[in-house]
Amino acid sequence: MCLAIPMRLVELEGFLGVAEVDGVSRKVRLDLLPEAELGDYVLVHAGLVIARVDAAEAEETLSLLRKLADEV
């Protein structure tokens, strides 16, 4: 029920869109995140986009992880 994988927004029309991951696509609604744009990676929950995945933050977390790994 609580799918956690980021999906890419591949279609967008007003509050309605289609998100895709690994060839699986799903109709989604953007009531919570109307500012999302085509090509964004989003988290979808029960048909609703609940959050956008921020690429810059993802990169920051990865560099933090690499830094931690180097401290070993």
């Binding site: 919570l32 029960a46 048909g47 609703l48 609940i50 959050a51 921020d54």
Partner: protein
């Protein structure tokens, strides 16, 4: 998969695990609140990577598992009425109610439909105009907005044969009850990332403030989980307790304002019954008066009043949800109870602690 694979890098996982070995001197019991965390930790074998004195225990964050038996029995009872169609997320299908399940009722001819989104149930109601479609509103704050939108759409479009059997639950109240009971000595909490996008990290401030327990808002890939554990161990070693967000790519500093407004418009806080925890004040929601016509518990109140209370069960899910028992300690685990013959919801749900232990941690 973008934003997933990078956080499953095997070499990096090994290095971070080594780093944790340095931090994890003292014994620590870290509770992963969310069922998806439980599953990810089991699937990627993270328990083995943690320093030995650090223990991961499952908490009350599997929405299927915490659904109370009496609520499930009530929903199942509605399915026995002619003309009622039960719509549910697929996860609930095999959860045993008293003497039956949605799956068994469907095999006996009851109208049970699996939906992926609450709005699909509204569409179903539009198609089956002469039937009553009742959607089982299960889940935490991440799922509640989807139910709220369905209620708004049904009300706006006057889909009068749609209603919601609302057993949605809210996370902070349950955590408070769990920690106040003091049965498990929790040293740190991995807080559920996706719930937090809706309610905001500040919702956990009381845990660090009132209970002195460090929290980390954590994502769902193996490296996310290790980073969460790192945050907690570091806070412990520095003698601090705060709420750290280590899942910044998905959880912004402020919760989603539209979600907050949506939930406030449709739902009001209410007491809720949790499996294993009993009634927790203010840990659930009820559908507001404005949407009363779409509230299954009020629409079918007379029918539901006749459903007998559930008999006691030998399943230990309650103890497992409170973190006081590990799945393998249940005498029925992998004996009388298995995913093909589940005796409790923790063995059914893909996020359940017993199912995770059965699939990934049996010797």
């Amino acid at each position: 998969m973008k934003f997933s694979d990078e956080f499953r890098d095997k070499d990096l996982i090994r290095d971070i695990a080594r780093r944790l070995q340095q931090l994890g001197g003292k014994p620590a019991t870290i509770m992963e609140v969310c069922g998806t965390h439980t599953m990810a930790a089991a699937r990627f074998g993270l328990k083995e990577l943690l320093p030995p004195p650090v223990r991961l225990v499952s908490g009350p964050g599997c929405p299927v598992c915490v659904t109370a038996q009496e609520d499930l029995d009530g929903f199942l009872a509605l399915g026995k009425e002619p003309g009622i169609v039960l719509a549910s997320f697929g996860d609930m299908l095999r959860v045993p109610g008293t003497g039956t399940s949605l799956e068994k009722e469907r095999a006996r001819g009851a109208a049970v439909k699996v939906v992926y989104a609450p709005l699909d149930a509204v569409d179903l109601a539009r198609q089956e105009k002469e039937k009553e479609v009742v959607f089982f509103g299960v889940g935490f704050e991440t799922t509640m907005p989807a139910t709220a939108v369905a209620l708004q759409v049904a009300a706006a479009d006057k889909v009068d044969n749609f209603s919601v059997f609302c057993v949605h639950k809210t996370m902070p109240g349950a955590l408070k009850a769990l920690l106040s009971a003091g049965e498990v000595k929790v040293s740190g909490l991995l807080c559920p990332g996706h719930v937090t996008t809706i309610i905001g990290a500040a919702s956990y401030d009381f845990i660090s403030r009132d209970f002195g327990i460090p929290c980390a808002v954590t994502g769902f890939e193996p490296l996310d989980l290790l980073l969460g554990v790192e945050s907690i161990l570091r806070q412990l070693s520095e003698g601090r307790a705060g709420v750290e967000n280590v899942y910044t790519r998905a959880v912004p500093a402020q919760p989603n304002p539209r979600a907050q407004a949506l939930l406030a418009e449709v739902f009001a806080p209410a007491d809720a019954v949790w499996r294993g925890l009993g009634v927790i004040p203010g840990s659930g929601v009820k559908i507001r008066e404005k949407y009363r016509d779409f509230d299954a518990q009020s629409r079918f109140a007379a029918l539901l009043a006749q459903v007998p209370p559930p008999p006691p069960t030998a399943c230990c899910c309650g103890d497992i949800l409170r973190g006081v028992m590990a799945p393998k300690e249940c005498p029925l685990f992998a004996q009388a109870c298995s995913p093909s013959q589940p005796l409790g919801p923790c063995m059914v749900s893909s996020e359940g602690a017993c199912a995770a232990a059965y699939r990934y941690e049996r010797d």
